[in-house]
């Protein structure tokens, strides 16, 4: 997904000489093509993320359209003060591209996982937060990012996801995409890792004769309130899915809208239960341990269904 994002960006990079790409020692392989086009606008700042963010700020203040890339905890958590003051407060034209949302970096361990980035980034004024749900969304986002006015945070999930969208999509930041319009149950997922899990869950429910609605909520901020209000009208169960702490992420954001809108149905956040990963393993293994694999999600929905019908 990152590969196609950078390939798409390369087309624009060739035409638009104001685009600069900064990265901090990691992801070198993604930038070979850009370097071939213009090595002066592709800068490896070394292992120095705080400096990267503010060099980007200085470039953006000089009229450049700047992208910064790294693994999320180093890009975001490490350089947060620079992001807060110089990018967000000054409302600069900078795109932060973060790799490894959730536990995508599996065996590399907790230092490389990211379970709190959505919460941090959506609480920054002026910041837009997007987690593309599949390859089509990543391509559309790469194009949209070029002319995007202001700070943008892109959270990449897993790279090798199937295309969820079979048709052409109408991608706009701030507007969720309804993958399937059904009834009663509504699954709202963000990012490629969770959207692909969500589609497995939805397929299984469909085989049982249910017709769940599935939404790719790629933009977590600004959140598509209109769509959520619409969904609230004809769904008795709304479930959010994210590979992020349940505190402060997609589920929190959607719940704020639902509660303020007076939603009377059942609502559940499915995400990482306020914990760092306590296990060692590859992403699939960790997702299972965190209860975020499609089977466990399905079981949780069944449990929710029981609660709805019998206990509430």
């Amino acid at each position: 997904m990152r590969k196609i994002f950078f390939q798409t960006l390369a087309e624009e990079f060739k035409k638009d000489k104001s685009i600069f790409m900064l990265f901090a020692d990691l992801g070198v392989k993604f930038f070979y093509d850009l370097k071939k086009i213009d090595p002066e606008r592709v800068i490896d700042v070394g292992v120095a993320e705080a400096n990267m963010i503010d060099v980007a700020s200085g470039l953006a203040m000089s009229g450049k359209n700047v992208y910064c890339y790294s693994i999320i905890p180093f890009l975001i958590d490490r350089a947060l003060d620079q992001i807060r003051v110089d990018i967000a407060y000054n409302n600069l034209n900078i795109k932060l591209l973060g790799a490894g949302g959730g536990v995508v970096y599996g065996l590399e361990g907790v230092t490389h996982h990211s379970v709190n980035d959505i919460a941090i980034m959506r609480s920054l004024p002026n910041m837009t937060v997007v987690a593309p749900g599949d390859v089509k969304e990543a391509i559309a986002l790469a194009k949209a990012s070029i002319g995007f006015p202001g700070p943008l945070y892109v959270r990449f999930g897993r790279d090798c996801e199937p295309e969820v969208h079979r048709e052409e999509i109408d991608f706009k930041t701030g507007k969720g995409i309804v993958v399937n319009k059904g009834k009663d149950i509504c699954l709202i997922a963000t990012g490629s890792t969770m959207l692909s899990a969500a589609i497995e869950v939805a397929d299984r429910l469909s085989k049982e004769g249910k017709n769940p609605t599935l939404v790719s909520m790629h933009t977590i901020k600004p959140l598509d309130r209109e769509l959520i209000f619409d969904l609230a009208k004809d769904h008795s169960q709304i479930i959010t899915l994210e590979d992020h702490n349940v505190i402060g992420g997609l589920g929190s954001a959607v719940s704020e809208v639902l509660l303020e809108g007076g939603y009377k149905g059942a609502f559940r956040r499915i995400g990482i239960p306020d914990t760092f990963s306590e296990h060692v393993g590859r992403p699939d293994y960790l997702m299972e341990k965190l209860g975020l694999d499609s089977k466990t999600i399905y079981d949780k929905l069944y449990f929710l269904d029981k609660l709805k019908n019998h206990d509430l």
Binding site: A48, A50, G58, G63
Partner: protein, 278 residues
């Protein structure tokens, strides 16, 4: 820029004393902190704003202007009077400093039209931002220079040294770091908290062409800054030895004046000391 004549230096010294008094007035009237660290800046700002910087308040967004970045944001009570004197900040905005509903805070927010290039107050940002601006200047083949004004205590922030490496690696000879070396950080002596010495050697080791000056001697400051860049292909560093609280005897080298505001008696005494000099 030709060397300054003796008469020109005398005029600059007079200007410096006027702006020292303006800084004192601004802080006293608004009961604001940071007088000590503002007073150490006066001669350096005088040299920059009246001799070195190629800027014009008529065209604050001129792409070819020199950039002045105040990285030690707490020193802004010294900067605002200079920006007012140079026509960037109009009287009504200046008078709203540190007032409810005003424009100017006790740490600056980026406002190009007012001559404020960056937001600062969180330390250790300016040199990296300046590096980005200098890099853009090189890339666009523009001849503007970027001057970043740093506090010495601020150099304890590690991000400065990331930027120092970056700037020399990229041969940013359009970038100048000015270190206001008054030897005091917020409330204590730097050498007692976290020593910076040998400071000039550190900058040289990081690839910066470095010169030391008396930061209150305008003749020395102007003649050194006239030589920027000190060496082609290298960023320049000016370590200016200064005195915190400079010009008001009872404030000089006294840590408590970092954030203390003079009371009426102290203000009068300070005014009397400055009077003979303006």
């Amino acid at each position: 820029m030709p060397l300054a004549t003796k008469e020109e230096i005398q005029i600059l010294e007079k200007t410096a004393q006027e702006l020292r008094r303006d800084t004192l007035d601004l802080i006293y009237k608004t009961k604001s902190p940071h007088i000590g660290c503002s007073l150490s800046m006066i001669e350096l700002l005088t040299a920059l704003y009246f001799r070195i910087l190629r800027i014009n308040s008529e065209s604050p967004r001129d792409e070819n202007r020199d950039r002045f970045l105040l990285s030690k944001g707490h020193g802004v009570p010294a900067l605002y009077p200079f920006l007012a004197k140079k026509g960037f900040i109009k009287k009504e905005i200046f008078d709203g400093y540190a007032q409810d509903g005003g424009t100017l805070e006790q740490h600056p927010t980026r406002n190009i039209d007012l001559g404020i290039e960056i937001t600062s107050g969180s330390l250790g940002h300016g040199l990296s931002i300046g590096s980005g601006m200098a890099l853009a200047g090189k890339h666009d083949k523009k001849d503007y220079r970027v001057f970043v004004y740093l506090g010495d205590g601020e150099l304890q922030e590690g991000s400065n040294w990331e930027a120092a490496m970056f700037a020399s690696h990229h041969k940013l000879d359009n970038l100048v770091a000015i270190i206001d070396h008054n030897k005091l950080q917020a409330m204590q002596r730097i050498e007692e908290v976290l020593d910076l010495n040998p400071l000039a050697d550190k900058w040289r080791a990081f690839g910066w062409e470095t010169k030391e000056v008396n930061g209150h001697d305008l003749n020395e400051i102007v003649s050194v800054m006239n030589k920027i860049p000190f060496k082609k292909g290298k960023p320049s560093c000016v370590i200016a030895h200064t005195v915190k609280g400079k010009g008001i005897s009872f404030m000089e080298n006294e840590p408590r004046w970092h954030d203390r505001c003079p009371d009426e008696n102290e203000y009068q005494q300070a005014l009397n000391e400055l009077k003979g000099l303006c």
